[in-house]
């Protein structure tokens, strides 16, 4: 997830689902346990109640067993009528194990089923022993919980009381509980997650706003602006405050840099002017010995190199501030490339490299800073020639496609190692000095950094492709619509 909002929503949803699920599971199992406990308590009390009734009846009447018409022993009808109202399965057996009474539910069972529970109703081993158990009447059917107890206070007529209840009703109720929980879970979780997402979004909305504002402020021209501080001094309020303090410091250091840039340019250029003036005056005097002239020429060259370096540094310092010092006017780019091309031919001739310049037949007019464009073209061509061995080839092509003007400078030179490619536009980056032609002085190391700035200040891009040993291609793309 890319946003805090998304992550918050996921965390929140996970926490919610886990806690609700735990709650539901605990609820379900505790209900289940309670239900079964109730069931067992019920059959126990049914058995006890029956034992009580039989004991009571025995005290009142004595004999409670009589023969029915078929000669089988049965409970006397008066007592049987009382027991008739007991729900579930209730059996009363005689001491010799014969069935004396069966409740309506038990009588509703099939003969086989009935025989099975009848065998369970054997008298317990001791006079005070209660036997409890579980039994499944049908495979996969509900479980029958039962209790078998003796009837101690009713003479010796009775063997045991069997009371049992199946779990069908209980399970039905648990199933209902389960489905209610599942429905509530689904119906409840989805809106809760959506609400959570909405809340996270609302809470983070000021952050989004702040991002937009900060981006607008730090584009280089609006550093005097500040973020609007929210009324609450909450985390976001403090963040805005901190950002504002940071921007104040940034603004101050930018202002300091601007002052320094102006001061440095003046302070360094004035002595350079003085040196230059002296050298220039001396070098144009007709009567100087040749060694002196050569020394002066070297000095002049050094002054120019220093001036060039200084200009490059100042240009990049200003570029960092986001101030594009461009003087743009519509110009036919072919004229610029033609001029740079002639210089390229001279450099190529010197280096023993062939150069090919291709240009469109029609004018290619674009609003550019003419001297910066010339600098860009010259830098690229100069580089291409510099890194191409004798006998190699450099080609320069100007063209337009897809609303963009493309300047391509390709060489068949030594190329750039893949590890170096990401750094070539860095300041003061230089290729391994072993790669340059011997006897040539390296450049300032700022050339490509300036090229990149020039391309970008014109709203364009500069790209490089290179294969070691095969050559390098620089492509400058400038938007054509931008003729302002």
């Amino acid at each position: 997830m890319e946003s805090i909002r998304g992550r918050l929503t996921i965390w929140y949803a996970t926490a919610l689902i886990v806690s609700v699920a735990v709650f539901a599971v605990v609820l379900y199992f505790s209900r289940r346990t309670a239900t079964y406990q109730d069931l067992e308590r019920r059959i126990q009390s049914e058995a006890d109640l029956t034992a009580g009734i039989l004991a009571e009846s025995y005290r009142a009447r004595g004999v409670l067993v009589e023969k029915d018409t078929a000669g089988r022993p049965v409970l006397t009808p008066e007592v049987a009528a009382v027991l008739e109202v007991v729900p579930d399965f209730l059996l009363v057996t005689s001491r010799d194990g014969r069935l004396l009474f069966a409740s309506p539910d038990a009588r509703a069972l099939t003969f086989a089923e009935f025989e099975q529970i009848n065998t369970l109703a054997a008298p317990p081993p001791g006079p005070a022993t209660h036997v409890t158990g579980k039994y499944r009447i049908k495979p996969n059917g509900p479980t029958l919980h039962y209790v078998v107890r003796p009837v101690p206070d009713a003479g010796d007529q009775f063997g045991a009381i069997f009371a049992g209840a199946d779990t069908r009703t209980a399970e039905l109720r648990l199933e209902q509980l389960l489905s209610t929980l599942v429905i509530a879970f689904v119906v409840g979780i989805v809106p809760a997650v959506l609400v959570g997402r909405w809340i996270a979004g609302r809470a983070l909305e000021p952050v989004d706003r702040m991002i937009t504002e900060v981006r607008e402020i730090t584009d280089g021209r609006s550093l005097h602006r500040r973020l609007a501080l929210p009324m609450e001094r909450d985390e976001l309020g403090r963040l805005a405050e901190t950002l504002n303090q940071m921007m104040t410091r940034l603004e101050r250091s930018f202002a300091a840099l601007r002052r320094f840039t102006a001061d440095a340019s003046h302070e360094l250029k004035t002595p350079l002017t003085v040196v230059r003036a002296g050298v220039e005056r001396a070098i144009t005097r007709p009567d100087l010995p040749q060694e002196t002239l050569a020394a002066l020429e070297e000095t002049l060259q050094e002054v120019n190199r220093m001036t060039e370096l200084l200009d490059a540094l100042l240009t990049l310092a200003r570029a960092d501030e986001g101030r594009a010092d461009l003087h743009r006017e519509p110009v036919d780019l072919r004229a610029i490339i033609e001029e740079a091309g002639e210089t390229g031919e001279l450099l190529a001739e010197h280096a023993g490299v062939t150069i090919e310049i291709r240009m469109p037949p029609d004018p290619l007019v674009l609003a550019v800073d003419q001297s910066r464009m010339r600098q860009l073209a010259l830098n690229l061509i100069e580089n291409a020639v510099k890194y191409t061995p004798r006998g190699g080839q450099v080609s320069v092509e100007l063209g337009a496609s897809d609303g963009r003007v493309l300047l391509t400078v390709a060489d068949s030179g030594i190329g750039i190692a893949p590890g170096d490619l990401p750094h070539i536009f860095d300041r003061f980056w230089r290729a391994d000095s072993a790669r340059t032609r011997t006897g040539e002085r390296p450049g300032t190391g700022l050339g490509l950094a300036i090229c990149k700035w020039i391309a970008e200040a014109h709203g364009g891009t500069i790209e490089v492709q290179s294969r070691p040993g095969r050559g390098t291609t620089f492509t400058v793309a400038l938007p054509q619509g931008d003729t302002a």
Partner: protein
């Protein structure tokens, strides 16, 4: 032609003043903006042009310029600036400067701009330059040797023009490069040598006397 130079740096100011004097102008140097303003707008002043440094103690160059224009002084003003930022130049031009030169400047460049602003008659730079059989017509940009026309590329033309204008004098490679290319273009190789090789093929090859001569370690000279 009288020129007022307002420049606080004594060495630079003195260099400009002497250079202008040597070029046949009458130049005066003042060291600060107040004094410059007083002289430029004073009753007895008859300057034809002002060379003004933008960064001055007390009153800045921009302020001097603004005050001059406010007082209705319409003299051409050439601004010297250390800033090469376009917006700074634009500001100066908006304040009424006529042209600018960026420090450090080649004196040749300053002189060219002073000439242009002073609208000096052109005989200072004669339209046709001649050395032995080589004729260089700066008007029609036509070059002939012994009556035979020679075709030159723009850079060849610029290098030859510079040497012809200063014929008889040794011109340093750096000065030639500055003139023919942009100011302080440093290709790292002696590109001028390549141009000279080409010029020799076109001008001196098979002809006598040779006109283009090499001065080792310094540069070139055109002389018969």
């Amino acid at each position: 032609m009288k020129i007022l130079v307002i420049e606080d740096d004594k060495t630079v100011g003195e260099y400009v003043r002497r250079g202008l004097d040597e070029a046949g102008y009458h130049a005066e140097l003042v060291g600060d903006g107040d004094e410059g303003l007083r002289r430029a707008s004073g009753k007895g002043a008859h300057y034809d042009l002002i060379v003004l440094d933008l960064r001055l103690p007390k009153l800045s160059g921009i302020d001097v310029l603004r005050t001059l224009r406010d007082r209705g002084v319409g003299l051409p003003v050439l601004v010297l600036t250390a800033q090469d930022a376009v917006d700074f130049k634009v500001q100066a031009l908006r304040m009424g400067a006529d042209d600018y030169v960026t420090k450090p400047f080649a004196f040749e460049e300053l002189l060219a701009r002073v000439e242009a602003l002073g609208r000096r008659p052109k005989e200072i730079a004669p339209p046709t330059l001649r050395v032995a059989g080589l004729v260089f017509d700066t008007g029609s940009r036509e070059v002939t040797r012994d009556g035979k026309r020679i075709e030159l590329t723009p850079k060849e033309y610029a290098v030859l023009e510079y040497l012809m204008r200063h014929h008889g004098r040794v011109m340093s490679r750096t000065l030639i490069t500055e003139y023919a290319w942009d100011y302080h273009f440093d290709p790292g190789t002696n590109i001028v040598d390549v141009v000279i090789t080409r010029l020799r093929k076109k001008i001196d090859h098979g002809r006598e006397p040779k006109l283009i001569h090499t001065v080792r370690g310094v540069g070139y000279v055109v002389r018969a």
